[in-house]
Amino acid sequence: MSATGFSRRTLLKSAALGAAGAALDLGAMGRAFAAADLTVGIVYVGARDDFGWNQAHAVAAEALKLVPGVKVVEEENVPETDACAKTMESMINLDGAGLILATSFGYYTPFVVDMAKKYPDVQFRHAAPLWNKDKDPKNAGSYFGYLNQAHYVDGVAAGLSTTSNKLGFVAAKPISSVLSNINSFMLGARKTNPKAIVQVIFTGDWSLPVREAESANALVDAGCDVITCHVDSPKVVIETAEKRGVKSCGHNASQAPLAPKGFITGAEYKWATIYKGYAADIAAGNPLPNFLIGGYESDFVQNTPFGAGATEAAKAAANGAIADMKNKVPIYVGPLKDNKTGKVVIDKTYGNLDPYLDNMNYLLEGVVGSIT
């Protein structure tokens, strides 16, 4: 907000000074350009330090800043409205951004698509698998990490951490990526503990701190002794679990400092791999990939370093599961039934990135909960 305004103003001022100075010292100008070969503009929907989705991107942005020749401009709290189009436009026109990373789902249509058409020389990449190769501009594209693989690893550790065999999952909305995280968490837990069940509570929206706290409390009341979640900012869920004296697994970014006693591990994105890859491609003059998805095998996701809640057995099993994920061992080994009608919904074994799994609209047997 204000910080960005300040940096923009200083930038304009220095540009003006540079122009004045150019008449006297052309060499200085040349050096100034060489210092920043690529400016990357990153747009966030919330605060960069939200312990969640935005923080995961901001951590990667910090890594990107260390790449020589790359300058990063950021703006936080940009709503999924016309405001994000204005932000992208000012990053392009005022800061000279050559690559825009739009990190929130709702930025894509129409804003990223429109801006990509308007500025064909600028590259746009958006953090959700939405780019359509037939319809969308070639200078736009998508990238996404398959976080369910890291949730599977969480599950493997959680299965060995429970004594009640009940694991709690606070989820925002029943969309396919959330359902895949829940199902993968359950399958991981069943791998080490066939008796484990996962109890899910849907809060109904991405950020409802009071209801998230209530949900975590309700799960503990119902006997769950490991809590994890898929909401925008897991801070409240993890803190509530810690307060109630149960163990927890994180989501999106590292929440380890919030639960010094009960934190096991957490599912984290590793956007830095993707962002640095983009910077390297541009530096080498290669075209950027339009559609980039992956999980552990591509180093796009990771697990938070183990906390005090992880036993030695859980650590060993989780490390084994991480090795499995890197070797593309499938999570969804069919046939698998849904939890409502007992119908087979996954007929055979699918690879971890198989598009069939992207349309998940069911919870598997082993999960207690309903998507409606």
Partner: protein, 305 residues
Amino acid sequence: MNAGVVTVLIAMLGGAIRVSTPFMFVAVGECLTEKSGRVNLGLEGTLVLGAMVAYAISYHTGSPWAGVLAAGIAGSALGAMHGSICSLPRVNDVAVGIAMMLFGTGVAFFFGKPYIQPTAPRLTSIPFGGFSDDLNLRSALDINPLFFVGIAVAVIMAWAFANTRWGLIVRTVGDSAPAARAMGISVDLVRFLSTTVGGFLAGVGGAFLSLSYPGSWNQGLSSGQGLMAVALVIFARWSPLRCVLAALLFGAAGALGPALQSVGVTQGYYFFNAAPYILTLALMIASSSATRSARDMPGELSMAK
């Protein structure tokens, strides 16, 4: 009773105690303001600012109660602003309230940025569940002192409205400004003070959000609770005691959605999550009466005219 029902009942009891406190403070504060004949819709902003200030001060001083006090002072400042702007001629209190709401949240987000990450000392709860072996009941009965403060304020306010000269003055100003002027009361001053005190209480409600439950500061913390609490005042027909009951009811109903899902009643969770609103609506329809609400509503409120 089977275990599932017990779990849900305990969760609702816990929810009523945990979730109701901010609603209670905002509603009781707004009740005072509205009794004096003005509506302050800005309390959502006051709640958010209170939460931020409480967390920041608790973090810097190490004393959560200093945070609560600072939140109250910040809330009074916003209330005083609303009160003094509305004293100007031809100013609409509802419009100013909306402006104050945006102002309060904006200021809170601006200064609250550095406090999202650090952990501040929280208010400690008093354990009342020692008699029980049930861990869940014990945790539900860990009650924050502010909960009792809120009830005490409501009781004192209800008593003061009925039995003191100050109470009479506030009610007179709220029911008929000309009558109050005829008695030599400064209408603007009374309303200014009522809005300021109302802001103080709402700020303290915000402190509860960040320092007790859910007990952390982030930008989505309030998610509209301040506005709901203003609506609860109308639901409670301008009685501080009924405000407390409404807040408790609202908290219990809010716990219903998560609690039912946790015991396996998972179908239709959107419906159960909407329980507080459905319940409020149903009670309002059931208890509505044209004559009674006309009697309870302060005559000077813009919606009464």
